[in-house]
Every structure is written in structure tokens, then in C-alpha cells.
Amino acid sequence: MRRFFDVVGRDLRLALRQGGDATVAVMFFVVTVVLFPFGIGPEPNILARIAPGVIWVAALLACLLSLERLFLTDYEDGSLELLALSSLPLEAVVLAKALAHWLVTGLPLIAAAPLLAVLLNMPAGGFGVLVLTLLVGTPSLSLIGAIGAALTLGARRGGVLISLLILPLYIPVLIFGAGAIDAALTGLTPRPHLLILGGLLAATLPLAPWASAAALRQAME
């Protein structure tokens, strides 16, 4: 367990000392959402109607930004092979790196989301559910993204390829994330959507590290 948190701490220190990753993701998130009023027009009712979907789609795209480098830097300088040889199972290494990715990209997005909801004129009743869906949903995004990052290790144009592979797999999270907020805004209970989001997380939590570890082993053969 201590080794697990050592890997998490190492990735966090790397992310913080290199700087950039977390701020870039949040900036991208904010700018993408702010584009919509320009494209669609500043009509408050329309913006309020599309706010949950727009915020969720922007969050998905922001999550993708730093995924390419999840394993790439370690793969290139050889530390990934050292991590694979360590006594910690490769699956746990993947889980630790996905956790670090979520702490660096996912958490800041959640903090910025209510501000964007205000900008898009979303009714205040949806704020709590918005934060809750992102809290349950974004860890799944980091975990599924780890599969894409592991599969494209060493590929040509890896970054674009990740989006192509991973975005279709993100669709269920998007549907139920935005659906929960829509339900809350129309006066229905968001509970079933949130339960499915939780179920998706419960499924990806064991399966995604397993698949990514298999892909990493292929990459290091």
C-alpha cells in the first residue's frame, strides 16, 4: 500500500513541479465552454438548457488533453520498466497513475464547473448534482483513458489516436452524467443516473487497470 502511494506521490510531484498540466486542462475547459455562447447566441434559456451537456462534453475533452503523457514520459525514459519490475503489480501502478491523473486534471475541473454553470445561466438547483456527477464520473474517465494511453504507447500520432479510441467509450459516462443534471433540473430524481454512474465506476475500477496493464506488457515486450 505504501508503494502504491509512493507512485501516486511521485506522479503528483512530477505534475506539480513541471507545472502546466492542471492549469492547461482547466483553462481549456473554461475556454471551450465559453465558446458556446458565442456560437449559439447569448439567449439565457437556450444556454440554461444546454449547460449540463456542454459542461460534460468540455470536461471529457479536457480529460483527454494530458492522457497522452500518462505513460509516455515514463516509457521513453525507461522508468516504466522499473515500475513493472518492482514488487507492486503493474495493475496497481496503473491505478496509482490514473489516480494521480484524476487528482491533477479531474479535481480542478470539478472546482471550476460551478463557475461555468453560473456563466451558462444554469438554475442553482442543478449545481449540487453537477458537482456530484463530475465527482463520480471523472474517475471513470481517467481509468478508461489509461487503457487508451497504454494501447497507443509508441504509436505514430498517439495523441490523436487516443481520442479516436477513447471518446466512443466515454459516451455512457457522458449520457448518464448529463442525464442526471437534466433530471434534477426538470424536477425528477437524479438518483438512477447517479447509481448507473457509480456502477460504471465500480466496473471500470477493476477492469480498466487490468486491460491497461495487459497493454503495457505488450508495449514493453
Binding site: T152, A155, L164, L165, I171
Partner: protein
């Protein structure tokens, strides 16, 4: 299964099957098209548009069938390092993507007069669209590496991850109340479709399957030969 891992033996078997499957494709496709375009009655509600179904339904079946085959081959390739299983998945992918595209296009053509819209974001349609993206993603991933073996093994893992979509497509019409009608042929007991329409449908389905067998064998043969040529080239470059 490991008997067929030998490429030479496989090529011999493929050469024996190919003329038969090619002939079956031509005969069945001609018979199926005749039956579905001329030999079957128009539907009492849909009129002549029902004939689109004789292409659409088998194409949809094939889209799922090919993906399932590829996922099984991917598992075999990963577990037993079966060389032909890897190549099979690679060879089958463009055919499966073609059937999925055919299914989406014919469905859209049928939807325009019947539902009054080319496209709805219905569970069945959306999940088939995701299947199409999975095919495209797999094909891009396999070709994205300099080492072809690395490409196929990365693709195998993606195929297994994407296999979660297959039951979602199959049961989407049962789980969600959608615009797309539920299954009418594969019901237990008597199918909810008259034999004058069921026969052309089944003939087309068998024709599509034998087309798949023919083309996948041709592509596998080409793939094996391409690997051989590459190995010879690399070997002669080392001298």
C-alpha cells in the same frame, strides 16, 4: 485449433474452400436479391420500402457477427499467441466496418420515408454508430505501429474492451423503449414474420455470411503473403 496455426496448412485449406464459398456467394446473392426485390410481396404497411430490410437486417446481423468473431479471435490471439487469430481480426475489420456502414446507410434510407427522419438518437442507432467507431478505431490502431505485431496485439486488447458494446446493441431494443422495433426473427417459438418474407431474409443472411468467408480468406491469404515478403525483404537487407 493449433493445427491451423501453420500458415502453409491454412493456405491449403483456404484454397480448397475459396472456390466453393465464392460460388455460394454469387448464387445465393443472386437468388436472395431476386427473391427480395421481385419474388416477395410488398408489406401491407411499409409498401415497397420493406425491401430495404432484406439488405439492412442481414447487414446488421453481420456487423455484430463479425465483431464477435474478431473479439473471440482477439482472445485466442492474446491467450495462445495464435498468429492466425491476430491476422484474422485484422483481415475481418474492414469487412465488418463495411457491413456496419451499410447497415447505418440502409437504415437511414428506410427511416426517411418510414419514421420521417434520416436519423434519431435512439439507443439502437447510437450503439451501432459506436460499433462503427470501434471498427474505425481498431483499424487505425492496428496500422499505427511500425512493428505490425505490436499493432495487432494492441488491437486485440481494444477489441476485447469494445466487446462490452455487443450485448448493449443486441438488447438495446429490449432494455430501452426505443423507436427501433424489437427483434422479430430470433424470437423463441414462431417468428413474427411471414415465410414469404423470412425466406429471402435468410437467403440474404447466408449470402452475406459466405461473402464474409470468401473475402476474409482472400484477405488473410494476402496478409500472410505480405508478411512473407516483408520477412524476405528484411532478411535480404541484413545481408
Amino acid at each position: 485449433m493449433h493445427r491451423f496455426a501453420n500458415p502453409t496448412r491454412f493456405l491449403r485449406i483456404a484454397a480448397a474452400i475459396l472456390p466453393w464459398s465464392a460460388a455460394a456467394t454469387v448464387v445465393l446473392l443472386a437468388a436472395g436479391l431476386y427473391l427480395s426485390l421481385f419474388g416477395s410481396p410488398p408489406d401491407y404497411q411499409q409498401g415497397e420500402t420493406v425491401r430495404i430490410m432484406y439488405i439492412h437486417v442481414p447487414a446488421a446481423w453481420m456487423a455484430l457477427f463479425v465483431y464477435t468473431n474478431m473479439a473471440v479471435a482477439a482472445a485466442v490471439g492474446l491467450v495462445w499467441k495464435h498468429p492466425l487469430a491476430d491476422l484474422f481480426a485484422k483481415a475481418a475489420a474492414p469487412i465488418g466496418a463495411g457491413f456496419t456502414a451499410l447497415c447505418l446507410v440502409t437504415g437511414s434510407l428506410w427511416g426517411a420515408p418510414m419514421w420521417g427522419t434520416w436519423w434519431v438518437w435512439d439507443a439502437r442507432l447510437t450503439s451501432v454508430l459506436i460499433l462503427f467507431f470501434l471498427y474505425l478505431g481498431y483499424m487505425t490502431l492496428v496500422n499505427a505501429f511500425d512493428d505490425p505485431n505490436r499493432g495487432t496485439s494492441a488491437g486485440n486488447i481494444l477489441l476485447l474492451v469494445g466487446a462490452v458494446n455487443v450485448p448493449v446493441i443486441k438488447f438495446s431494443v429490449d432494455w430501452w423503449n426505443t423507436l427501433h422495433q424489437p427483434a422479430s426473427v430470433s424470437r423463441m417459438g414462431t417468428p413474427a414474420i411471414d415465410s414469404s418474407m423470412l425466406v429471402p431474409l435468410l437467403v440474404m443472411a447466408v449470402a452475406f455470411t459466405s461473402y464474409f468467408v470468401t473475402v476474409v480468406l482472400l484477405r488473410l491469404r494476402a496478409e500472410i503473403l505480405a508478411r512473407k515478403i516483408q520477412t524476405i525483404r528484411l532478411a535480404s537487407a541484413h545481408d
